[in-house]
């Protein structure tokens, strides 16, 4: 809803206009940007109060809070953009505690000169993602930095949620004997973004998997409340996520490469660039670790969900004083799935 009083004589120019320093200055220009861009797109009862904070009631239970900053280049990529990514990313972080996400906050750092058309496109994408997920953006902030001191737009989102009673999910709870499940194919997001980078001109049919996973998590928690760990393998990919869990839980892991789904175009682009899909980012996949006896029912509900159709049991948790994540390769040998050293970089030959 837009306030009835007429503060602004001219509307923002969403075709030729761009972000100016005054849009972060706290004055009338900022009020106009907030009103015409953010309030219009995100519109909900909490934002309409136009307070500096949002007030809301929460159900009884354990609250979960997570925050995530989003910087991505390019800002728009096949399957999504920084806007929906920033909504999905934080919803997923909250959901990985088994929680139902309730509310989001969004904070923008805009670079002077950033096209208002792009900003509107990004904000609309956030609004749509939040609505689809049923998680409203209830408060926010905007700052503008001088040209050259930002990369167009940075978005930080924070989310709160509540964990259903009886659910206790943590990366420190993996136990020897547990099964490791993966909700779908690896590397789609990372390679979709990489294929769009300016100095690569791949015409690869790869689409980011960015998606909000809380619906999938809710069905999983309903059938297996004794789930031990959930993790979305974003930056650093599956390999990094499993090493983090192994370290936090003081266990080792054994994987079967043949069971790990990777789509053919992703495999081909990784092959071409000398990258390992195990370390490529995902934005709509999750890892679940559960007692072995829950694995089959859990797999069944995951596969029945639209975001888990390719789910698979990819390995198991073992006792290992060294905390190694080992993998039986498609070739019949074994390899370590190590921590990533820095960023993955393409190889010479």
């Amino acid at each position: 809803m837009i306030p009835s009083r007429k503060l602004f004589t001219r509307k923002l120019d969403f075709i030729h206009g761009s972000v100016e320093l005054s849009h972060g200055g706290g004055g009338r220009a900022m009020a106009q940007l907030i009103e015409e861009v953010f309030l219009t797109a995100f519109d909900n009862e909490w934002l309409r109060t136009q307070d500096d904070c949002a007030q809301f009631n929460v159900p009884a239970g354990r609250l979960v809070m997570a925050t995530d900053s989003h910087v991505v280049s390019p800002l728009f990529f096949p399957g999504g953009d920084i806007g929906c990514l920033s909504v999905h990313g934080t919803i997923n972080d909250v959901a990985m505690a088994g929680a139902q996400p309730l509310y989001l906050a969004a904070s923008f750092i805009l670079e002077e000169g950033f096209p208002l058309a792009d900003l509107q496109r990004i904000v609309d994408s956030m609004a749509q993602a939040a609505r689809q997920a049923g998680v409203p953006i209830v408060t926010g902030d905007t700052k503008v930095v001088e040209r050259g001191k930002g990369d167009g737009v940075f978005i930080t989102t924070t989310g709160v949620g509540v964990v259903p009673p009886g659910v206790n999910i943590s990366a420190s709870r993996a136990q020897p004997g547990d099964a490791i499940l993966l909700s779908g194919s690896l590397g789609d997001h990372g390679m979709a973004v990489m294929a769009q980078r300016e100095n690569l001109s791949f015409d690869a049919p790869i689409v980011s998997d960015t998606a909000a996973l809380h619906g999938l998590v809710a069905t999983m928690v309903a059938v297996a409340p004794e789930l031990h760990c959930l993790r979305d393998p974003t930056r650093g990919g599956l390999g990094s996520a499993l090493n983090e869990i192994a370290q936090q839980s003081g266990v080792g892991m054994r994987l079967h490469e043949a069971a790990i789904p990777v789509h053919e175009p992703v495999r081909a682009l990784c092959e071409f660039l000398g990258l390992d899909p195990l370390y490529v980012a995902n934005e709509g996949k999750l890892l679940a670790i559960c007692p072995a006896e829950c694995a089959d029912p859990l797999l069944a509900v995951m596969r029945a969900h639209s975001l888990g159709q390719e789910a698979a049991i990819i390995g198991s948790v073992v006792t290992d004083a060294h905390g190694f994540v080992e993998m039986e390769t498609v070739f019949g040998g074994r390899r370590l799935v190590d921590w990533l050293s820095g960023e993955q970089l393409p190889r010479i030959c």
Partner: protein
């Protein structure tokens, strides 16, 4: 992936492994060196050692161009880039390698040096075209495989009159390094002090130079060499062929990689390389030392596109850490885990020696893919 998955087939691998088990002589050991980092990577990535009998040992050779680059040469170009405000273009896997002062290209970039990661030398040419007022230096590195593209880039730069482009030539040659390793294993009078029964020859390098340049391995050093592709089945097949030659007491150059390698190689690429480059009298290889006629330099006719002639690039002599056993690892005297600093103070995040520098180096490959095989208190995830 067509034409790739066929060479990673686990069932075919089991068949080949069974044949290797049948044919090895249990009374003796087999020490085989794969020269190339590409093979080392395939061996470790696919766990090929798990498919081999315990008396077949693979030695990871020096064929990783990033690993053998002396850190002084990297340091020199970082300093050049800082001093002359050049745009420095590099392949990705060089970015994390520490120079003589422990400085990497990524750290230099963080300090404000204009370092650009490129996927090919043609990207560097594009950057030079887009910034005609700034010197653009391409960090040319690699064995015979990456040399022809550098040569082509220099020819293009000359033809176009692209005067702000130059290449910092670190291209090295495979046969002299192979010779240096074999020489330490071979004395005419007494048996070699370290066992080396055969070599797996380079894949991509051989597509350029062909199989003929390896004849000296058989004729002078009496060792078999099998040129093999970089896929795991290629490697396993090459191991079987080497074991057969060893068992028969033969020393021949065989070509397993006939789908890409001919005896004479790629003549066109060779002639382009010969047009632009000439032999350097001597070049330092990290881990192996100075090797005569083992590297290339840009011919004087193309001096304008030679970074080392256009700028002053003083290379500081450097030595690796005293405890580093890279020289022994590269010759097969030691396994990576037998080095005192392996996985303790020398790790891929903080490499002390050449073998830990790039993912294709012997120590880094063992660290990333295989250190669970040799766990010790200092080695964990």
């Amino acid at each position: 992936m067509k034409y790739i998955d066929e060479f990673r087939d686990g069932r075919l691998a089991q068949g080949l492994a069974a044949r290797i088990r049948q044919e090895v002589n249990p009374e003796r050991g087999y020490a085989l060196m794969e020269f190339c980092g590409g093979h080392t990577h395939a061996i470790c990535r696919y766990g090929i050692e798990d498919l081999l009998p315990s008396n077949v040992r693979l030695i990871h050779g020096p064929g990783c161009p990033v690993c053998v680059l002396p850190s002084g040469r990297l340091q020199a170009v970082i300093e050049l880039a800082e001093r002359e405000r050049v745009i420095l273009c590099s392949y990705g896997d060089l970015l994390r390698v520490p120079g003589a002062q422990g400085d990497t290209l990524l750290q230099a970039k963080a300090r404000g040096v204009d370092v650009r990661m490129v996927y090919s030398v043609s990207d560097a040419l594009d950057i030079a075209r887009a910034h005609p007022d700034q010197p653009v230096v391409f960090f040319a590195i690699g064995f015979e495989t990456t040399t022809p593209p550098t040569a082509v880039a220099i020819l293009h730069a000359k033809a176009e009159g692209l005067h702000n482009f130059s290449a910092y030539c670190n291209h090295v040659l495979t046969p002299p390094a192979l010779r240096a390793i074999l020489a330490t294993h071979h004395t005419a009078e007494s048996p070699a002090p370290i066992q080396l029964d055969g070599c797996i020859g380079p894949a991509h390098v051989s597509t350029i130079i062909g199989s003929d340049p390896y004849q000296f391995v058989a004729t002078e050093y009496h060792r078999p060499l099998v040129i093999a592709g970089f896929e795991p089945l290629d490697v396993l097949q090459a191991i079987l062929l080497l074991i057969r030659q060893v068992n028969a007491g033969e020393a021949r150059i065989e070509n397993e990689y006939t789908r890409a390698v001919s005896p004479e190689g790629n003549r066109k690429a060779q002639s382009i390389v010969a047009e632009v480059f000439t032999l350097r009298p001597s070049f330092e290889w990290r881990g192996l030392g100075e090797l005569p006629n083992s590297a290339l330099t840009i011919r004087p006719e193309y001096a304008e596109w030679d970074t080392e002639r256009r700028f002053i690039v003083p290379v500081v002599a450097t030595t690796d850490h005293k405890a580093c056993a890279c020289a022994e690892v590269l010759r097969g005297v030691k396994r990576p885990e037998q080095c005192k600093v392996f996985a303790t103070v020398c790790t891929p995040d903080h490499p002390l020696g050449s073998c830990m520098v790039s993912a294709e180096g012997a120590c880094a490959a063992h660290y990333h893919y295989g250190r669970f095989r040799t766990p010790s208190p200092g080695v964990s995830a």
